[in-house]
Symmetry: C2
Subunit: 212 residues, 2 copies
DNA sequence: GTAGTGTGACTGAGCGCTCGTTCATAATTG
DNA sequence: CAATTATGAACGAGCGCTCAGTCACACTAC
């Protein structure tokens, strides 16, 4: 399995020292995320990214070949963080319906906390060159795959009614997207529901399908 | 109720003849949608919009004050078309669960056909000036409102178990977003499901909540 | 009719400026 | 010293938008 670090290293750099590259790029990402969230990718200039990182523009271009490189680094970093959060959530070994409910709760919590970051990916993935857009979309699939596995495990335990493979996959997508929905409709939903309300109601919704 | 036409007229123009303005703007929108879908808003130039419309750039700016004006016109037009589709779907008067199933089927059909347009709104709404972004989001809410009403009507008929107001609203949002999900995950979902499969499975999912 | 005048849609060269990127040079490190 | 890392002025392509001017047509005056 190619690690996320390996993906990052695919971006060419003038700088020889790999640790330095890793550190500098982390700095760049940290600075760029905020800027992209605040103003969007296209309205953020490379000079602003450099300034926010504490670099000269020249130095920025030692660690990155283009502005799009920065966007890709940002997207990768966000996915890594989301995936880490979800994996943490899936470590807990409850059983049956409780396991599913707990999984949803944790995942929606991640979405809640990473609101702006998830939104950013929805809005700016299209600005990536095709080669990297593909990678970002693969990340999205892998994330949904985690839910597929978790669901399959719960069902194999006999704690939920059987579902065919097709249904499991779709339920996993639904869970993923209903988490995202909180981020891109929050401006409206938050008028009517707290995140707790939202989790409770949606959990009921999802369990409904699985043999209420 | 302010009509969509009224919204459009809010945009200033140098041209006196209102019918001409309407016709020209329709031309502009038609040309711009394709370009925006193909290359995105930021990578489309005003010159390209003008050329695709068959206008000189000067003329374009007689009907529009800025490039963002064009984006707003495009977003409005798309929402109008979607809303028309949904309203058509809601005219059919079936009963109870069948009414709900039919509604979902029609709406998902609209999403399927307007795939690219819905995606465009997801990706470019953020590029609008705040004043207009607000309007576009209001359109989104109004659309969901149509589902709220339809659900309330069905429930009032006693054909579905009672739901409190809060749940109805959330189910309406879920239907809206699960329709959108087909558009922004289609690149993946279509490998496993036809649109028919998708509609069938998701309808089961949604009816599941409402007392399977 | 026709010459004169006014109106308003339309044209497109070009202005002013921003942006992503480069590169000659300087500083630092070992 | 040599190699590496860092600087920031300079470049030039490309952008949104303007505006002086053209042109077709309608209206008036005689």
């Amino acid at each position: 399995m190619p690690t996320a670090t390996a993906s990052k290293t695919d971006i060419e750099t003038q700088v020889k020292n790999p640790e330095l590259v890793a550190r500098r790029r982390r700095q760049i990402v940290d600075a760029a995320v905020s800027l992209f969230i605040e103003k969007g990718f296209h309205k953020t200039t490379t000079r602003q990214i450099a300034a926010a990182t504490g670099f000269s523009i020249g130095l920025l271009y030692e660690y990155v070949r283009s502005k799009e490189d920065v966007l890709y680094l940002v997207c990768e970093a966000i996915h890594q963080e989301v995936e880490r959060g979800v994996n943490d959530a899936l470590q807990r070994h409850e059983r049956g319906r409780e396991a599913l409910a707990a999984m949803i709760r944790e995942y929606f919590g991640v979405c809640h906390r990473m609101n702006d970051h998830i939104l950013l990916i929805y809005q700016e993935t299209q600005s990536l060159p095709p080669h990297w857009r593909k990678r970002v979309l693969e990340n999205e699939v892998r994330l949904t795959g985690l839910f597929v596995n978790a669901l399959a495990r719960i069902i194999a335990h006999g704690d939920l009614p059987n579902l065919n493979e097709q249904s499991i996959e779709l339920v996993a997508h639904n869970i993923t997207v209903l988490g995202h929905m909180w981020t891109f409709r929050r401006w409206f939903l938050a008028r009517h529901y707290s995140i707790e309300d939202y989790i409770t109601l949606q959990t009921g919704f999802i369990l409904g399908l699985l043999g209420g």
